[in-house]
């Protein structure tokens, strides 16, 4: 069995003192920052990205993954305890989780979230190990036209599945691609969009863009309505689940895991979509649907399992195809590129220890989450009460030094300032900045494959439609767009996201 050999290799990489240590630090920091109000996984990862640059690639990726699920778990904690979801995928958890907390069952809700996440994470990691290598092998047979088509499909799908206006999201993708093309052209060395500034010859720094839009811009948005939030946190007790509770959560966790694993692979809001879907399924099949919204434990177990499974399987397209399905994966790809690794199907074969090491560390990280978080819940609760007006100047400071440390260049700090304003303006105009980041990451690759494809076809653009795989993918992309833009579907879609 090849997979067990591979997993053994992975664990041999992941269970070194160094990597366990970085995994631990990642999970700890991720949770720490994730529970702070107003900070979801994307700003958390963007902020901590520079710290990992000095590490070897495997350790850096292990630490970043740890930060990711730590932050995600932290978001669920805030959702349950103070009804403040750190990110959109834990919005659903807040519905019943917070009600449970108000009934004095915060401990049970947190334990359910932890157990559900751990189970779902383990299963999804296993799925990742099984399905990633064949997918990568398949992708290796792709030529430039197929790659181009695949990226277009990925971008379109992520737009179609996200909430908000599709046309605006597409515009954000295109804008992101244009920004991503800045800097010297790879083929000719001609500087593009650099305004004759030597400092911009390498293009816009991706960390500066991410931190500006998701860090600084987000801070200003939070300062907008700076209401006095009195945080009432009850003492958390009773982490142990009763027999009856366990019986009630098994089904939802299994269904959530299945749903999340599948939806997580899709580009776009995999984790968000899966948690919403899991919640509505649980509500539909429950014998007591009236209890949902009033503290039903099933309403915590299902979505939590689903969003964690989705978070895990969203690594599949990232690791095998080099295509980010959400902003977090875009940050991961950015980290890979900074580490000098070309993301794509070659990672599995050329860097097996990296690939399998990351997979094995995911399982370890998920285990750590449970071990670390349940006993330390008292500390997290205290962190929750840190007021935002104390917190945000520290975040600004951290973003500044973090972005400066990437290249030791002040231009990145100014870039971050510009994109802070840009990010805020975009959000105010209801233009989602997440597609912009995806476009920014994919942009250079997209151009590269387009150029190569045209070179092969001797300048004939029909190449994309005469090769079957690329034609299918482009067809799917067009179909997705048409379907989403149909008026009837559009209405339903809006309703679905309203809920």
């Amino acid at each position: 069995m090849e997979i067990f050999d591979n997993l053994a290799l992975g664990f041999s990489v992941a269970i070194t003192f160094q990597n366990i240590f970085y995994c631990f630090i990642g999970v700890l920091l991720g949770t720490l920052i994730g529970v702070l109000p107003g900070l979801g996984p994307v700003p958390t990862i963007a902020m901590l990205l520079p710290i990992t640059f000095g590490l070897p690639p495997v350790s850096a990726l292990i630490m970043l993954s740890g930060i990711y699920y730590g932050a995600q778990y932290g978001g669920s904690t805030t959702a349950i305890l103070i009804n403040l979801p750190g990110e959109s995928s834990s919005v659903v958890t807040a519905i019943d989780g917070y009600q449970m907390a108000r009934q004095g069952r915060a401990g049970a809700a947190l334990a359910t979230a932890a157990i559900g996440s751990f189970f779902a994470g383990s299963v999804a990691t296993f799925l990742l190990a099984v399905f990633a290598p064949p997918l990568a092998d398949l992708a290796l047979k792709f030529g430039p036209p197929e790659y181009f088509a695949l990226m277009v499909l990925g971008l379109v799908a992520s737009v179609a599945l996200a909430s908000g206006s599709v046309v605006k999201a597409l515009a954000m993708v295109v804008l992101g691609i244009l920004l991503g093309l800045s800097g010297q052209d790879v083929y000719t060395g001609t500087p593009r969009f650099t305004f004759d500034m030597l400092e911009l010859a390498d293009g816009i720094e991706f960390v500066a863009l991410a931190m500006g839009v998701f860090g600084i811009g987000e801070i200003v948005r939070n300062l907008e309505d700076e209401h006095t939030r009195t945080v009432m946190v009850q003492k958390v007790k009773g982490l142990l689940l009763s027999k009856d509770d366990i019986k009630r959560i098994i089904g939802p966790i299994l269904r959530g895991t299945f749903l999340g694993s599948f939806l997580g692979i899709l580009p776009g809001g995999g984790a968000i979509l899966s948690s919403f879907a899991a919640y509505s399924i649980e509500k539909k099949i429950s014998r007591h649907p009236e209890k949902f919204g009033k503290g039903a434990i099933e309403g915590v177990a299902g979505p939590e399992a689903a969003n964690n499974a989705g978070a895990q399987t969203s690594f599949i397209p990232m690791l095998t195809l080099g295509i980010p399905s959400n902003p977090v994966m875009a940050l991961m790809i950015g980290a890979l590129i900074i580490q000098g690794i070309v993301p794509g199907p070659n990672v599995v074969n050329e860097q097996p220890s990296l690939f399998w090491g990351i997979i094995a560390s995911m399982w370890i990280g998920n285990l750590m989450l449970v071990v670390l978080n349940l006993p330390l819940i008292g500390i997290w609760v205290r962190l929750l009460t840190v007021p935002y007006h104390i917190l945000f100047p520290l975040i600004v400071g951290f973003c500044c030094i973090g972005v400066y440390s990437v290249n030791n260049n002040a231009i990145d700090v100014f870039t971050m300032a510009v994109f802070g304003v840009v990010g805020y303006v975009l959000v105010k105009l209801d233009c989602e900045p997440a597609p912009l980041l995806l476009g920014f990451i994919i942009g250079p690759m997209l151009e590269e494959y387009l150029r190569r494809a045209m070179l092969i076809s001797r300048g004939d653009p029909t190449v994309f439609f005469t090769r079957p795989i690329s034609a299918t993918m482009l067809g799917l992309a067009i179909l997705a767009l048409v379907v989403v833009l149909l008026p009837s579907v559009r209405k339903k879609r809006e309703e679905a996201f309203q809920e």
């Binding site: 000095g54 295109v174 935002y388 520290l394 400066y404 304003v421 045209m454």
Partner: protein
């Protein structure tokens, strides 16, 4: 003019996107285009700028209407006046000051200044907590970034007698 605006947010987004598209197209015009078989550095950006402009026009048009608008939807207003101009300015200023100060002043003063300026952005500003935050962040960044990660950065820059 305003009576044809159905959705101010869409109109503003559309105008912004079209403006950006024009800007990128203008920038790309100075680049060699090449031909489809061997694309120059300007080819793809030009296509994208055209696409962006088209999308911007669609957004712009969806926000307009031929029928005069009677009532305005609150969610569609931009509400410029209610934008947090002061916090936006102060936070941006803090970041810019950090960028300007990091070389000549060194990490300590520029970090302190940036954090202090940010604290001013909150309505619940208190001098004591602001100074404490600045101090904590200076100490923290020294410990993590200079001691821990070994960043080649002086605490005090050349203007303040450092190196």
């Amino acid at each position: 003019m305003t009576r044809f605006v159905k959705n101010p947010k869409e109109v503003a987004s559309g105008l912004l996107i079209v403006f950006l598209a024009a800007f990128f197209a203008w920038q790309a015009m100075g680049l060699p285009m090449g031909r489809a078989i061997r694309m120059g550095p300007g080819y793809f950006p030009m296509i994208l700028a055209g696409l962006l402009g088209l999308l911007g026009l669609i957004v712009l048009l969806t926000g307009l209407t031929l029928h005069p608008v009677k009532e305005e939807n609150e969610a569609q207003k931009i509400g410029f006046r209610r934008w947090p101009w002061v916090p936006l300015g102060l936070v941006t200023l803090a970041v810019v000051v950090f960028g300007l100060g990091i070389r000549p002043l060194g990490l300590g003063p520029s970090m302190g200044l940036a954090v202090f300026l940010s604290t001013l952005a909150s309505r619940r500003f208190k001098l004591t907590t602001a100074l404490a935050s600045s101090f904590i962040m200076v100490a923290f960044s020294w410990a993590v970034f200079i001691k821990g990660l070994g960043l080649p950065l002086p605490m005090l820059g050349p203007w303040l007698g450092g190196y």
